[in-house]
């Protein structure tokens, strides 16, 4: 259960890619929204939920996934999409509402669909879990050893869809892994105000399935526990629940006044930044600074190119609005 250097590098590079992607989005999203913030203005309008700080959840498990494995993500989906290998250019174009986007601009940031790598997401809390159950069922019925991973926030664990999905997957022994990203809040509501138990891992018992807890946003621990979880599911032993304590650096969405948390809290989180921690790990494994810098430069370039592609792409023509309702 040790991580190979290759894997560690992939994780690091992917985390940097995600972080840089989100930081770039902060800027792109802000364009056209000053001096007066207007959610509908600028090249990237609408709600924007960013995942800077939450990279470990996504990379730790996606490191064990194949193209044929399914991932469903919630309203905060960029890190999962990037870790699963969604086409970065078309994803970004989608977020910019362009015809070259994954959904021809019809979906937007909460609705990214890339069937090539079996990725999807959606804007309704917990609604993606049943879809992952269905993907897991399809895998089983097709007699493939594919698994399905559903990512949700800790707030989602209080919704009915969570419960129904885990019970269903457990009675049918499906290859499902539910990853709860506990970033301490559902919008403004702290976990202890919304959730009757300190750890959602307690709830795994109610479905007779294994539950794992990853503390302190640790990418390496997430990797290791995910390895067990994916193996369990792939071997046909049924579903697994993982809850990872993670950090949300930015607001719930861009523009969130964040009156519900102290700025101090954020400083403390930044001190434990998982990207920095993984970088130290790489260094301690003897990876030289120039190699690390090269990794970083490479993924930044990819991200820059994706944004560039998105910006240069055309908007759909308005006739497009009427297409794709039916086959």
């Amino acid at each position: 259960m040790s991580i190979s250097l290759e894997q560690m590098k992939w994780m690091y590079a992917t985390m940097v890619k995600i972080r840089y992607y989100e930081e770039t989005m902060v800027t792109a999203y802000a364009e056209g929204k000053s001096p007066v913030f207007n959610i509908g203005a600028g090249p990237v309008p609408g709600e924007m939920h960013l995942a800077a700080g939450q990279e470990p959840a996504a990379v730790g498990i996606c490191a064990h996934l194949r193209k044929e494995d399914t991932v469903t993500a919630p309203h905060r989906p960029h890190h999962h999409a990037i870790a699963k290998g969604v086409d970065l250019k078309r994803m970004t174009a989608e977020i910019f509402g362009k015809q070259s986007g994954l959904g021809k601009g019809k979906g937007g940031h909460m609705h990214l669909f890339d069937p090539e790598v079996k990725f999807s997401c959606g804007g309704i809390v917990a609604a993606g879990i049943p879809h992952a159950v269905g993907a897991a069922l399809a895998a089983k019925m097709k007699k493939k050893d594919w698994v399905a991973v559903a990512f949700v926030g800790e707030g989602a664990a209080n919704s009915g869809a969570f419960h129904e999905s885990l019970n269903l997957a457990a009675v049918w022994k499906l290859p499902l892994i539910v990853v709860i990203e506990d970033n301490a809040y559902g919008i403004s509501v702290p976990k202890k105000v919304s959730t009757a138990v300190a750890s959602n891992v307690e709830r795994a018992k109610g479905y007779g399935i294994p539950g794992f807890s990853v503390r302190d946003n640790d990418p390496r621990e997430m990797y290791q526990i995910s390895e067990q979880a994916v193996r369990h599911a792939r071997n046909g032993e049924g579903p697994v629940l993982i809850e990872i304590e993670t950090y949300r650096y930015l607001g719930h969405f861009q523009g969130d006044p964040e009156l519900y948390r102290e700025k101090n809290e954020l400083n403390k989180l930044h001190e434990k930044d998982p990207v920095i921690r993984l970088k130290s790990l790489l260094e301690s494994e003897g990876v030289v600074a120039s190699d690390i810098a090269q990794l970083e430069a490479q993924v930044r370039k990819e991200v820059d190119e994706a944004y560039d592609f998105a910006r240069k792409s055309e908007y759909p023509t308005i006739e497009e609005a009427l297409l794709d309702v039916f086959e």
Binding site: P115, G122, H131
Partner: protein
């Protein structure tokens, strides 16, 4: 498309189950999920015999978790399976409407057409047997109002089979409503029209085509499922009074076959729409509006609408019988239109 019609009579439920069986034989990807669809054969018999034929893997009894298993059908369909999922009564839609409305209906569009959801959600509708407010609705308009779903409601065993096969083969998500009392079940009211001639093999009846089930020149009556049958009864009585009513079986709410309706109204100049759903913001409104938009000058008298008068379905027999449009109510309303 249809093969030669034999003389075999089937009930609605057996016609449905046969359609599913034929498609399950033809295509490995087709499977069934729902509460009591297995050994029980579906509370309204839509899956009768399938469990014995195909086993628990392809005919899956589910927990009472409609969000979970309808969502799972969506996930499975996205992976190329072709699930048929049963929502036992349409009245339960509210526990799983998010999956239906926000996902099943929209994913194809939101993905720019890249994700297909070839699935059928079948569900039992209709009242008239004192099952009260939470088990007697049709909710036709609730489903028809949302873009992204085909919504069909066949009324005869022949159409049930042909439209189910068409629905399973359709690459779009389809809401397939069958009417409980048209299933021809041994424990319900025995209606003649719940049994009908059904050919043995595969055939399809296209989704989205209304049917003129009785021709007439004096007034057009549009109905669907039970109300269509009642309209035909009423038309027979009207004939005795010298009134020739044309009766249209809508069959599909989405796509809506406007032309068949408009053609008829252009001929009869009078329109009565009858619905077992609630009156306001319902199917009767849509049909009336389409005609008021596209054939206004053809109307000789105001449009008439007959439906459940915006009350929940009451339990007590006399009350329920009073609020669901009866043959007599249809007869009276149609005659009034003609005599105006």
């Amino acid at each position: 498309m249809s093969t030669s019609i034999g003389k075999r009579l089937l009930t609605g439920n057996k016609a449905l189950a046969e359609a599913i069986a034929l498609e399950m034989e033809r295509d490995d990807h087709v499977f069934v999920m729902g509460e009591d669809v297995g050994v029980y054969g579906g509370i309204f018999g839509a899956t009768e015999g399938l469990f014995a034929k195909f086993g628990a893997e392809r005919v899956r009894d589910t927990p009472i978790s409609e969000t979970g298993f309808i969502g799972a059908a969506i996930g499975a369909a996205a992976e190329g399976m072709r699930p048929i999922v049963e929502l036992m009564f349409v009245d339960f839609f509210g526990v799983c409407m998010d999956q239906i409305y926000n996902h099943m209906a929209k994913i194809h569009y939101m993905s720019g057409g890249h994700v297909k959801l070839p699935m059928v959600l079948m569900t039992a509708v209709g009242g008239g047997y004192s099952d009260a407010a939470q088990h007697s609705q049709t909710l036709y308009a609730t489903f028809a109002h949302m873009p992204g779903l085909k919504v069909v409601a066949p009324a005869t065993p022949y159409d049930l089979k042909g439209m189910m096969i068409a629905a399973i083969r359709d690459d779009n998500p389809v809401i397939f409503m069958f009417h409980k009392t048209l299933q021809g079940l041994g424990w319900m009211d025995q209606l003649d029209y719940s049994i009908g001639v059904v050919p043995e093999g595969s055939y399809t009846v296209p989704l989205g085509q209304a049917k003129v089930v009785r021709e007439g020149t004096d007034v057009t009556i549009v109905g669907i499922q039970m109300m269509m049958h009642r309209a035909v009864e009423a038309a027979k009585q009207l004939e005795a009074e010298g009134i020739q009513a044309e009766v249209i079986d809508l069959r599909s709410l989405v796509p809506l076959d406007k032309e068949t309706i408009l053609d008829s109204v252009r001929k009869t100049h009078r329109l009565l729409v009858v619905d077992e759903d609630y009156l306001s913001y319902g199917m009767t409104a849509e049909i009336a509006a389409v005609v008021a938009q596209e054939a206004l000058y053809d109307l000789e008298v105001p449009i008439a609408r007959l439906a459940v008068p915006d009350v929940p379905i009451p339990y007590s027999r006399p009350l329920e019988q009073a609020i669901i449009p009866s043959v007599e109510a249809i007869f009276t309303a149609a005659r009034q239109l003609v005599q105006m």
